[in-house]
Amino acid sequence: MLTAILSIAILGILFGLGLGWAARKFHVDSDPVVDQVDAILPQTQCGQCNFPGCRPYAEAIAAGDAPINQCPPGGEAGVKALADLLGLDPMPLNPENGEEKPATVALIDEQTCIGCTLCIQACPVDAILGAPKLMHTVIAAECTGCDLCLPPCPVDCIEMIVRPRQDGTWTWPQPVAATVPGQMRTGVT
């Protein structure tokens, strides 16, 4: 009887120590959920999700206060990534927040610009340069294509254009391939 109790106790202590050791040894430091969500969001800072920026939306998602389908710039792929991260079912984008569009940048028509600085104040990433009564211009490399500079412009001199490709780069197309195995492939690049 005594041996039985003792041996069980010793085993229990040993396993307990082992588990404790393993918990420390294999401890994985993970980012707080907010950071992980924020890393997936595209950082357009456009506010289409009805939050003032990506970070606030990430906080709301992490707290469970907002659904994951309110980010049009992130698109379906973004929703899927969020669903994977949070263990939720992927859902279609909420059309109330907008549609998924190709990436754009703002372009100021410098002839029309009157130098009112309203767009500069609206830009969430400080990507517009200029001074009062002087012409403004967009730093295309920093522009996230959020559209926020469009409404305040009194002379409608800002246009959103498809983001130009970086010089000297090109991409290979997705092969025309059988998504269903066995479909015919035509030899094209």
Partner: protein, 520 residues
């Protein structure tokens, strides 16, 4: 396998003492003899030369001539200032008739700007200034000369040579490797060059060796290039250089790839994402060496190259010395034209070459071979079968990848898995594609996957910057609004402290009250 760089560099010093194997690869039929029977001939100048401004890695050069201007052979017509080495020279004397967008031999089949030159038939050189005595010059002067001559890697990479040499010399190079093992079937331009101009290659080797500060040079040739060995050896003996030696490597595709050749010579692997310089080695193509020799000793920039025009769809295959910018159609015509059944035009070899949609494409500095393949020698549009996991692709992969797993993760868009699977280490040699019984276009998928990985990395970088800038702005706005609040509070406090002001305020309030009562 882990060794420090220093140890690896020491091991690499023994390069060539013993030959090693690289993993996988294919023994392909060479098809080289058909284009080696006639000596290299100079191609006639076409009525129009289309000289692309993009003949190096990176961005297009800017034209430095204008329409209607007369240029001499060897005159600079395009220059790319940022790297300082992507310059382009007039391949003959004549008039610039236009600067247009034209199909260039771009990997993805895109157009590029070309300077169109109408030759005047005189082929008159710009006055040349060869370096007086290269042996007494310091490496910097040699590099300057190489840079100004517009020399890029002629094996097909088009990487600016001066840049590569300079970067390597900063890391310390002990051995220069001249790559004469053109492993792709059909291509024979380097073999012909080594046979016919061995002295020029040896001279180029000596110059490059000095420019990079290497102790010795290895010229790697294939074991099936019979006459080349004697020719090169004789040239080395004539030059009286003891530091140059020849190594014969076994012909297994793709042993001419830089990383594979280094593995064959040293048994060491170039670290992932690294350069041969990490092992103290610099690799250059043999044709690049002759271009260097010409630039330094004769003052002639790179305006022509040997091109193999061959394949089952060409009447009489041969090697031609062609001016850069010569349309492909012109060269094919000089080889007797197409044979009936010619079905594909390839720039480069049958394994890695780029398909050309039209033969109006001009010859570029990287154009080692114009290959015309017959109907029955190319892959027909065919049914792709599902992968049966036979593992042949992994067996032949020189980069030790598992192509079928990469294929699966790319198609499933699992980009993290793709990256972990080493897609970036794929050299696109096409071995896996060639052996796949299911006819899966693996290389096409890998190229697409690489593009996507690059895009995603760029996207991530962009997002990170946007986040930073957004946060910086938020904190600045918060700071400003706090400062404003403080200012207002301070003003109020100041007003309250001043009795005279307080009185005035009371008066004005009183006035306002009376006015209101009056109106009511």
């Amino acid at each position: 396998m882990f060794r420090r760089r220093k140890d690896k560099v020491e091991l690499a010093r023994r390069a060539g003492d013993r030959l090693h194997r690289f993993h996988g690869g294919l023994r392909l039929h060479h098809y080289k003899k058909i284009s080696c029977e006639i000596p290299v001939q100079r191609a006639a100048l076409p009525p129009r030369l289309y000289v692309p401004l993009l003949q190096h890695t990176g961005r297009e050069a800017e034209a430095t001539v204008s329409e209607g201007q007369h240029v001499l052979k060897g005159e600079q017509i395009g220059c790319f200032k940022q790297l300082g080495s992507g310059c382009v020279h007039a391949p003959t004397s004549g008039t610039v008739s236009a600067i247009v967008r034209h199909p260039i031999s771009h990997p993805a089949g895109e157009d590029g700007r070309c300077i169109v030159i109408r030759p005047d038939g005189l082929d008159q050189w710009l006055e040349q200034e060869p370096l007086a005595d290269w042996q007494s010059l310091d490496p910097a002067a040699l590099l300057q000369c190489i840079r100004n001559s517009g020399i890029v890697g002629l094996g097909g990479a088009m990487f600016p040579t001066a840049y590569k040499v300079q970067e390597a010399s900063e890391r310390g190079i002990h051995t220069l490797v001249l790559n004469g093992s053109e492993c792709e079937p059909y291509i024979s331009c380097d073999e012909m060059l080594m046979r016919e101009q061995p002295d020029s290659i040896v001279l180029g080797a000596r110059i490059l060796q000095k420019a990079v500060g290497a102790e010795r040079t290895l010229i790697a040739i294939e074991d099936q290039m019979g006459a080349v060995h004697q020719a090169l050896q004789a040239a080395i003996d004539r030059s009286g250089t003891a530091s140059i030696s020849i190594v014969k490597v076994t012909t297994i595709y793709p042993e001419g790839g830089e990383k594979q050749l280094i593995q064959v010579l040293t048994g060491l692997e170039v670290p992932s994402g690294g350069r041969p310089a990490d092992l103290g080695l610099l690799c250059q193509n043999v044709a690049t060496a002759t271009a260097v020799a010409r630039a330094v000793t004769e003052g002639k920039p790179l305006v022509e190259r040997i091109v193999t025009v061959t394949g089952s769809g060409v009447r009489s295959p041969r090697n031609l010395l062609a001016a850069i910018g010569t349309p492909v159609s012109n060269l094919v015509d000089q080889c007797g034209g197409y044979l009936p059944g010619a079905a594909r035009l390839v720039l480069g070899g049958p394994m890695m070459g780029y398909p050309l949609a039209s033969d109006s494409n001009p010859v570029t500095k990287a154009a080692n071979c114009i290959l015309v393949l017959n109907e029955d020698e190319i892959r027909r549009p065919q049914a792709e079968m599902p992968c049966i996991r036979c593992g042949e692709c992994a067996r032949v992969c020189p980069a030790l990848l598992l192509p079928q797993q990469l294929n699966r993760s790319i198609r499933a868009q699992k980009w993290e898995e793709t990256q972990a699977g080493g897609l970036r280490d794929c050299i696109e040699c096409g071995c896996c594609d060639f052996v796949c019984p299911s006819h899966i276009p693996l290389v096409e998928w890998f190229r697409f996957g690489k593009s996507r990985l690059q895009e995603l990395a760029a996207e991530k970088q962009r997002a990170d910057r946007a986040r930073q800038r957004f946060e910086a702005r938020e904190s600045r706005l918060a700071r400003n609004s706090l400062a404003r609040k403080q200012r207002i509070a301070e003003k109020k406090r100041a007003l309250r402290a001043d009795a005279g002001q307080q009185e005035k305020i009371a008066e004005s309030i009183e006035r306002a009250r009376k006015r209101r009562e009056k109106t009511e």
